[in-house]
């Protein structure tokens, strides 16, 4: 084809041709089965993931999601190693990524463990453990209020208490402030690792096709970049109130994750007895308030700003407990935790930048700073011990 005739063709043809060739090559591949000489007869890979479990007086209700190169047929359901009657909605084979409700009229026993096994038509088995059977909470205003209050207790109150240190913190000199900022970085570093780890744990329960771990990494990375770009849209790194706001936002995401876990655990009866642990939790989250206060120390701050920061950092815990209790799904939880990790990473970077700019020697790898960093991690680790028994 000469140059001249090519120019005569409309531009869009250069989208149509490659797309058409792509479709053609796929069709050819499927039609000719070039893998045949490799002797590969792909067995249907099946996967059944239980995404949600509800226990009530009717029995056990599961929401399952399937994955497979061919439709998956759920043939039978075992509860505690016994074949049990069940109904599936919708009925019939389940295509890739579709989900279904399985209702099992099983007389489950409160406080005890139940093991559910799903057998597909090919004899593959998938098991799901209910660690401690508790009736799934039903929506009621009182119950919702209680979950919100629980979230406030573990999220809002500790942050507010942490911010109460503000007047004292203001009396510190610049060395003290720097020390406090490195301490904050230490706290955040701990939270970053912790949040990522929770995200990965959650992703273990995500249907394999969603590629849980990758989802967490990518979401965290993208979240970091977006928040970082937002923070620097003015052309410079955030300082003062805006830095504190980002801190509160990052910690808020983290607390949302914590709220989710608490709510879901409470709803499924996994939270056992011991009121001192709430106290431990409060101590653990108190340090978050101190961290949020740190960038505000060399400027005047209004009371309502503190209220705003407290709610931004703490209130997500209340949403978390609600979502966790009533609408739990592992992949969304993993995504939320990953966003939290990205947000925390952004704050680490920004607090680090702020610290660097405010250090006269421009050398921030000092004994004092390192001590603050390590102490920050140690505080988080230490208070975590209070609640991990």
């Amino acid at each position: 084809m000469s140059k001249w005739s090519m120019q005569k063709l409309p531009k869009w043809i250069w989208i149509v041709i490659p797309v058409a060739l792509l479709l053609g090559s796929i069709a050819l591949f499927l039609a000719t089965n070039p893998l045949k000489p490799l002797g590969v007869v792909a067995p249907p890979i099946e996967e059944v993931t239980v995404e949600r479990t509800i226990l009530d007086e009717e029995g056990i209700h599961l929401t399952v999601r399937v994955n497979g190169s061919e439709p998956v047929r759920i043939a039978q359901v075992l509860v505690d190693d016994a074949y049990w009657q069940f109904t599936q909605k919708p009925e019939g084979p389940l295509t890739r990524l579709s989900s279904a409700k399985i209702d099992i009229p099983y007389p489950w026993v409160q406080h005890e463990l139940h093991e559910i096994t799903i057998i597909t038509s090919t004899g593959m088995t998938f098991s799901h453990t209910i660690e401690v059977a508790e009736p799934t909470p039903e929506w009621s205003i009182q119950r919702i209020a209680a979950y919100i209050l629980l979230g406030i207790y573990i999220g809002v109150i500790p942050v507010a208490l942490g911010l109460l240190f503000y007047p004292y913190l203001r009396t510190l000199g610049s060395t003290g402030i720097n020390f406090l900022l490195t301490l904050t970085i230490g706290l955040l570093f701990y939270l970053l690792i912790d949040t990522l780890q929770e995200g990965f744990e959650m992703s273990q329960q995500v249907a394999g096709v969603f590629n849980g771990n990758l989802l967490v990494w990518v979401t965290a990375g993208v979240a970091f970049l977006i928040i970082f770009a937002l923070g620097r849209r003015g052309g410079k790194a955030p300082e003062g109130l805006s830095l504190s706001t980002y801190l509160a936002l990052g910690i808020g995401f983290h607390n949302l994750g914590e709220g989710l876990a608490v709510g879901a655990a409470m709803a499924s009866g996994e939270a056992a007895l011991g009121s001192f642990l709430v106290v431990g939790f409060t101590l653990h989250n108190l340090t978050e308030g101190i961290g949020i206060a740190a960038p505000l120390l060399n400027r005047k701050t209004k009371f309502r700003t503190f209220v705003f920061l407290t709610l931004l950092a703490g209130l997500p815990a209340a949403f978390g407990t609600l979502i966790g209790a009533f609408a739990y799904s592992p992949h969304w939880t993993a995504v939320l935790l990953a966003i939290g990790a990205g947000a925390i990473l952004q704050v680490i970077v920004e607090v680090g930048t702020y610290l660097y700019k405010n250090t006269e020697t421009k050398s921030w790898f000092t004994v004092s700073n390192l001590t603050g960093f390590v102490l920050g991690i140690a505080i988080m680790y230490g208070t975590a011990l209070l609640v991990a028994i």
Partner: protein, 373 residues
Amino acid sequence: MKSKFSRKSFLKTGLFSGATALLGSLITGTPFSRSQQHSNDKKTADPPNEKKPHGGMSTVGLVDHKRNGFNPHEMLTDWDTGEVSQLPNGQTLREYEFVAIDKEIEIAPGVFFPAWTYNGRVPGPTIRCMEGDRIRIHFINAGSHPHTIHFHGIHSAEMDGVPGTGPGMIEPAESFTYEFDAKPFGCHLYHCHSSPLKRHIHKGLYGAFIVDPDPARHAEHSDIARSRLLGSEENESWQEFLIVMNGFDTNFDNDNEIYAANTVAFAYQNEPIRIDRERPVRIYLINTTEFDPINSFHLHANFFDFYDHGTTLTPTREMIDTVMMCQAQRGILEFTFEDFEPGKFMFHAHQSEFAELGWMSFFDLVNNREVSV
């Protein structure tokens, strides 16, 4: 799957009552503690389906016996006496053709198992003959793996059907003829003895080999011998059934997902075996369960006499209602429901786990005229 909430271990230990206590003072009514109270009172949720049969413990749906090509109800009594002729020396010759076939079978509603079979069925054909008969089995391996037939009984090394003696393992597309005299009398079995042994057996290559006693050889108990001899007048009053206790490992984790009597989970629970309450019952019971060291048979509301391996004409154990069997162990059970009211009587493995995984059955005791078989 792991626990959903390993997020923080404190969750496991504490938050609940902590929150309850703290929130309780903040909210009137304390929903948390109230729900706790409410459910403690109940202890267990109501059995939600009390009116359903067996309390819901069963498989859902039906097995397509036609597609399988065999029916566990027919297997109870489909004795295969072979192609019968006389040898020049007057001995009865029984000839069989066994073909090893790979075949997918439905072992519970909707659950398919890639089985290896003799003649397309699990268990394979039930050989029934008389002590002293000549047995000739033409074995054709139409499967995808080398197989054998190893008969429990008395025979030469050549005919043992194991690797290392005689023809050894019969390769796919090859064949061999096993030949021996049927002895001793009793309730025996045959199975593939190729290696790996576990897999060849649990895939379905086994069956019953029943040798009836020759009354002429057992003068002291000739009546009893005749009652066991298929086709004799004394035998006709008996209701005889074959039950092979077996299991299936559907996900190949060396543990059975399904236990059964004659292959199909809950076959005789969903459709009980009808028996005439006025005639005695004799069960030829064989254990071919793989992966578990023992299996068992328990009869409800009644007791039976047991003949270990069926090699005696007097019971080896009397008046028992449960018998435990090692793998490949077998025996004959005799009992009667003569004075009983009609009704359904359970029998099952008395390992509750096996019972709930499929080895759970019923006799439906009826009056004579109602029995169709």
